[in-house]
Amino acid sequence: MADASSTVLTTADGRPLKAALATALVRAKRRAFLLVLPLLLFVLLTFLVPIGYMLKRSFEHDGFTASAPALVEWFAAHPDFDPANPPEEAFAALTQDLARMQVEKTTGIAGTRINYSVPGTISLFKKGAREAKDMTPPYREALVALDAAWGTPVLWRGMQSAASTYTPEFYYVASDMKLTDSGWQRGGDKERIYLYLFGKTFLVSGIITVLCLLLAFPVSHLLATLPMRKSSLLMILVLLPFWTSLLVRTTTWIALLQEQGVVNDLLVNLGLLSDNGRLRMMYNMTGTIVAMTHVLLPFMILPLYSVMRVIPPSYARAARSLGATSWTTFRRVYLPQTLPGIAAGSLLVFILAVGYYITPALVGGADGQLISNLISFHMSKSNWSLAAAIAAMLLAAILLLYWLYDRLIGIDRLKLG
């Protein structure tokens, strides 16, 4: 073995085999990486970057910091000032900034930023900015004479909070907190909405997931056990609605379930209902649950089907031949084997349901709203930071559920097909 070095295996061109193999391996790896590179870049660009940008957006807003430099500087130097009684120099800095905003036309941006926590400030800023350049000391009296709101503690707290580009403020608002004269406090009974809707969204999504499971399980079983020709036909019946536009399916439910709709007309004509006793099945929570369950059903059927298809029927037969009742066979032999499909389908349906907003917006009426409808509302009103904060909370809640799921069931047991 002493002359082992002299018996190194070499390739035909004289290179050591080990090195040649390593080079080939690296090349293969590089080629494999190049093959997945498009997908990697795609995921990065269309998924991770936007989510990162959204998270950044949820605690970043420079609307005030960029347009009120003097006041920002003053706030930085006096972090412990008394909002109830800001000194004259603070008012001087404010007046200076207001005059500057008027010149640079940034009043709207700055006012909008403060308006997020102190409603009514946009017009206050506009009015102040118009007059600012003609104001003379003492500025406090001048501003308060223009509008008493300039002296309120809540406004100064709002401006102080907005004076840093990064702020948790949007998360406070998304947790039903209100800025008051004495700081952030829980909103009044008539104003709290977000946490309630979070809870409701998860509850409704849970109900929809359970309903989907109950409806999908027998269908998937039938699909998996019927002879090929019949199951293909059944599969088409499942897939046809899946391929139909979401809006078409939602409006179809409206046509069916509304008070003057097909179902109610039928029941009235059959004499089962009086004309005044028509059922209210649309524009409420019932409508949302019915329509969303229908829309999401294929997402439960398909994973269940793919799992059930590969369960050998001999297991159930063996159980029966060993004396198990049909219920025991189902519970102890068949059901456990479908668990990966149940888990995958439930996770899919639940996560899709949590983020749904078109269907609840169309059929939800007054009490069928979900949290995503508020995200869409704030998007449309240009308060993207608040929308981002609510969305981030939703994302965090789902990640938490995902983690729980991993701990309790195990993500490796998930089977999509």
Binding site: G108, S123, K190, S380
Partner: protein, 356 residues
Amino acid sequence: MKRILILSTALTGLAFAAQASDLTVMSWGGAYGAAQTEAFVKPFTAATGKPAVMVDSDNPAPAIKAMVEAGNVTVDVASVEYADAIRLCDEGVLEPIDAAALPAGADGTPAADDFLAGAVTECGVSTDIWANVFAYDTTKFPEGPTTVADFFDLEKFPGKRGLRKGAKAVLELALMGDGVPAAEVYSVLGTPEGVDRAFAKLDTIKSEVVWWEAGAQAPQLLADGEVAMTTAYNGRIFAAAQNEGKPFQIVWDGQIYENEMFVVPKGAPNLADAMEFVQFATSTEGLRASAQQISYGPARKSSMKEELIFKDGKTVMAPHLPTAPENLANALETSSEFWVDHDAELNERFQAWLSQ
């Protein structure tokens, strides 16, 4: 492979270049979008030879804001609500419009005097004045409701009510229904007690309300018999009554009207053409053409000099416009200042109230 890449890139580039040459106008779709296509877009192409297309949106304001923020603006002109025209302008999302370049009226009146007060702002020019009104089916109520208080009177006029899901125009309607004169609505609504009062009034009909969101839904609810009366944009009810012969009647008492604005987003691909389009559309003739398509009032005095006739050739438009004197007897102009300030706050309250 390389050749294919270059070829496809070049083709994509060409496709974008071809798209970029068309002037793109974004509006609200439905009867309104169709009217603007007939009144503005087609005549513009006919007069200037420049191709122009109309695209629909549920609400163009957030769409153009998103485009400007993303730096990928594909729309040249957008039709937005008055408060949005002001808000987006403040946020620097819109191109300023040179008011001096707007054409004089057909009778020679300078544009500044020809437009109604408030119709031209820093970044927008009014295309029409539209109103939130309520309407009912005459076959249901032969002796129909006549005042805004009747909308809230479930005993005299039983049946479901359609309302737009949102605080704006609904809270004002509630206060007027509760007897607040139009002139005092915003000062009342500016106080916490006033807001409580509006919601208390809405509480009286809450169980009977069907909420709608898209403008086209309101006439549909009425046509389906889902509601006995509903608030709606007046032009949609007019279109349903005229074009489809629906037995709908508008109640003008308590109408809430505002200007609809054409704006140009910052970074519009055809900026010069966009400005030309805005000037073309808001000329005396442009506004006349629009008011002959749908019952929204023109914002120029010169457009109303001659009688406006609907496109069917016989219906006189004047009594169907929000700006008709008899329709303005008890009318409220939306305060954009109030809503810019309180939109978010009152909508949160509204959503909380809805889910209670």
